[in-house]
Amino acid sequence: MDPDAHDRRPPRWPNVLLIIPFVALLWVPFYNSIEPSLWGVPFFYWYQFLWVPLTSLLIIAVHRLTAVPNGPPDGRDAGGRP
């Protein structure tokens, strides 16, 4: 294992990006409308569906930005136990 892995603390700022889905979904006036509808589906519905993949992609992005490439195995460094 790379002995420096513990010292190279990953950046934590990308976590802030995870606020975006909260704002987008909890501020109801953004999307409580029929138009613009998509293939007959009111905006209210397709907008919220759209945030499923968007949130997924955001989490993947933050996971990559805050992870150490080739870092220690998951969690196993935490307590020094195998």
Binding site: P21, L25, P42, Q48, V52, S56, G71, P73, D77, G79
Partner: protein, 517 residues
């Protein structure tokens, strides 16, 4: 009696019964250890955890109740979608910390963590009891899903106790394989269950629109007042605040439920949880589609068809999805769909009963009743308790009015939210005094229950009035605000009074987890 559907249903049930018992030998471990029986040895990888958490969060009750709410109440019922989206950033940020500290100290429950962190067994007891009480009606409601689909196949619709025989058999099977295999059983069965659920929902969202003339026709059939949330008026925020607070409050409550904690702690690493936070939203998409089946039931007009009259009378809007399935599919596929819902109830019911018995054993039995118990006795006790919990749920659903279980589940969400300050804040800081947390918890429980009581326990939405403006919101969240306020104000006071702060057995480094990709 729908024989074709019943045969397919029974065959699939037979399959998962065999799997449930075989699971004891999978990734073999010493099942007399509680972390082996109750957490599958903390060895579940990304894929199995995905199925397990999916099977856990999106339960049979969810699959029946969410479309039923959309069918009956319209757009407000759709809050399940934003709720199951915003929960994942929270899972991603918070739960790896819980996993890390639990792994380090062999914690099995959230109450174990509270005990270790605050050294206060009364606070840990409060967290444990809240978890058990909130979980019990949830297990009973899993049976409701099973009961509705068994009824939909024409079994035991004559009423009386004979109609409950299939339910009792299904539950006996569940109890037996949970007893022998522990968490390994639902983990393995979840794979089958989720595959069936995906097949069913994808079939529904393709077949029904073809029959009624596309999605535009479905939305056109929905009464306009159900299609959108009611907009704020001069002196009320109407459904806007209700929708947002229901989504946010439910998201926070979700991962305090003991069954979620159990599934999370059984993961093999913190990275498994982080990756799952990114991939689990696939289920949210599915749940959103399922919510839309409530509108499909409106568009097809199943509620007015004479063949479904009896079902709707007995199960109210909970019958919407079973009726839609019977109406849209050939009998054999209806059997597959009903098996999906039925098995969809057994998986979470198994995990919930394991979680409740872990809590009882670790935080009540060992801590207060039998302090000298050996690990093997501890596990034996947990296995017995898992049986007791399930029998309790069965008695509940057979002998008490269904409305009680639904109301208690609603209250359960409010109650479990009151453990957030102790558990979630505790993961980050020990600034709050454990006695202050206990008083805050009690205040939150009391006020939350009172708020639900003002609606006759019909709704979790409380119309809070501030300076002439009515803000309808999720009672759990309002109660939680009070809980936080009490805990924060009382902490310095209790510290001044020299109230015992207990000892913290955790170290800051215990919360660190590996961050590899």
């Amino acid at each position: 009696m729908n024989w074709t559907a019943l045969i397919v249903f029974t065959a699939l049930f037979g399959l998962i019964t065999v799997m449930g018992f075989v699971a004891a030998h999978w990734r073999r471990g010493d099942l007399t250890q509680l972390h082996e029986w109750g957490l599958a040895g903390r060895r579940l990888g990304t894929l199995i955890t995905w199925f397990l958490l999916g099977g856990d969060v999106y339960t049979a009750y969810t699959f029946v109740a969410v479309p039923a709410l959309v069918f009956g109440a319209g757009a407000i019922g759709f809050f399940a979608l934003p709720y199951t989206i915003i929960v994942y950033p929270l899972v991603f940020l918070i739960l790896p910390r819980m996993w890390a500290v639990a792994h380090k100290h062999n914690y099995i429950t959230a109450a174990d963590f509270v005990q270790g962190r605050y050294g206060n067994r009364w606070l840990a007891l409060a967290v444990a009891v809240t978890g058990i009480v909130a979980t019990m009606p949830y297990i009973a409601l899993q049976l409701l899903g099973l009961q509705v689909v068994i009824g939909a196949m024409g079994v035991g619709t004559g009423g009386g106790l004979a109609g409950d025989v299939p339910l009792v058999i299904a539950f006996a099977i569940l109890a037996a394989f949970t007893y022998t295999s522990g968490l390994r059983a639902p983990a393995m069965i979840a794979v089958v269950k989720d595959t069936l659920i995906y097949i069913t929902v994808i079939a529904l969202v393709i077949v029904v629109p073809l029959k009624v003339g596309g999605y535009a026709a479905i939305f056109n059939a929905v009464p306009p007042d159900k299609l959108l949330l009611t907009s704020p008026g001069a002196n009320t925020l109407a459904q806007y605040s209700a929708y947002a607070t229901l989504a946010l409050g439910s998201a926070f409550a979700l991962f305090l439920y003991p069954h979620t904690v159990t599934a999370v702690l059984s993961a093999t690493g913190a990275g498994v949880i982080r990756r799952n936070a990114a991939y689990l939203p696939a289920y949210s998409f599915l749940l959103g589609l399922l919510a839309l089946t409530g509108f499909m039931a409106i568009a097809t007009g199943v509620a007015n068809m004479p063949e479904f009259a009896e079902g709707f009378q007995q199960y109210k809007s909970n019958f919407a999805v079973p009726a839609l399935i019977l109406h849209s599919f050939p009998d054999w596929f209806a059997g597959v769909a009903f098996a999906a819902i039925g098995i969809g109830g057994l998986v979470p019911a198994a995990i919930m009963s394991i979680a409740a018995s872990n809590l009882f054993t670790r935080n009540i039995y060992v801590r207060f009743i039998n302090r000298d118990c050996t690990p093997a006795q501890e596990t034996a006790n947990a296995k017995i308790v898992s049986l007791v919990v399930k029998i309790g749920a069965l008695i509940f659903i057979i002998f008490l009015p269904l409305q009680y279980a639904i109301q208690l589940q609603l209250l359960g969400g409010i109650w479990i939210s009151q453990t957030i300050p102790a558990v979630i804040v505790g993961l980050y800081t020990r600034w709050l005094n454990p006695w202050a947390l206990l008083v805050g918890w009690a205040a939150g429980l009391f006020v939350g229950t009172w708020m639900a009581g003002t609606t006759g326990f019909q709704s979790a939405t409380f119309p809070l009035t501030l300076d002439g403006l009515t803000v309808p919101g999720y009672a759990a969240l309002y109660a939680l605000l009070l809980n936080f306020a009490v805990s924060i104000v009382l902490s310095p006071i209790f510290n001044l009074l020299q109230a015992a702060r207990g000892t913290d057995e955790t170290a800051p480094t215990d919360y660190r987890f590996g961050l590899n990709r």
